[in-house]
């Protein structure tokens, strides 16, 4: 069964460093998302992406964040200068039709020290 994959599974970085989280969505899906989950808290929407542009972003998704679909398969989330409070699980999701049914990857645990 097709699934969303994410790499790395765990990333440790120092405050102020740049990180890139990678995702391979399900191959025939057209809509892509990033969510995050701080330990013990809700899953929160960060950004949605369609047709090579951002469709919507949350207040969390500030200028330090960017997304890209560099080729036909990968979808990346970049954090330019990480802060301690960026430590969280980051989930990529994708959807085809119906567009409300989103399929999530296993997540990348980001630890900022």
């Amino acid at each position: 069964e097709p699934e969303v994959t994410q790499t790395p599974s765990h990333q440790v970085t120092q405050m102020g460093q740049e990180v890139i989280l990678r995702c391979v969505p399900i191959s025939n899906h057209l809509y892509f998302y990033w969510y995050r989950q701080i330990l013990g808290q809700k899953v929160e929407f960060l950004v949605s992406f369609y047709n090579n542009e951002i469709s919507e972003k949350s207040e969390i998704f500030d200028d330090q964040f960017s997304v890209e679909r560099p080729d036909g398969s990968n979808f990346t989330l970049k954090i330019r200068s990480t802060k301690l409070e960026d430590s969280a699980m980051y989930f990529c999701a994708s959807t085809g039709f119906p567009v409300a049914e989103q399929y999530f990857g296993p997540g990348t645990r980001l630890t900022v020290t």
Binding site: V43, F45, Y50, S55, A93, A100, P106, G107
Partner: protein, 115 residues
């Protein structure tokens, strides 16, 4: 902002018992999704309910969408240790003029089924 409240927050039961968990909102949703999440993993989609009053069954799991599409419930019959996990409900919202949805999640119900 649309919020989803889930109850109870924690539930610990013995194998073989039945249980119901709830997902409530003051807002109407076009559909609701139920996910299950294991520690350190991503949410796994269980079901989507779309029509008010709809009931969907997935083996021993029964999902119901409220008539007004503001609430949903998940009932598990004869729970097993393998049912242990965090059960999340999520509702899609569509920005005006937008083409794709974002999901708003509840905090989840952490279910533990003891052998």
């Amino acid at each position: 902002t649309q919020l989803l409240e889930q109850s109870p927050q924690f539930l610990s039961i013995q194998e073989g018992e039945n249980l119901t968990v709830y997902c409530n909102s003051s807002s109407v949703f076009s559909s609701l999704q139920w996910y299950r999440q294991e520690p350190g993993e991503g949410p796994v989609l269980l079901v989507t309910v779309v029509t008010g009053g709809e009931v969907k069954k997935l083996k021993r799991l029964t999902f119901q969408f409220g008539d007004a599409r503001k609430d949903s419930s998940l009932h598990i019959t004869a729970a097993q240790p393998g049912d242990t996990g965090l059960y999340l409900c999520a509702g899609p919202t569509l920005r005006f003029g937008g083409s794709n949805y974002k999901l708003t999640f509840g905090k989840g119900t952490l279910l533990t089924v003891n052998p």
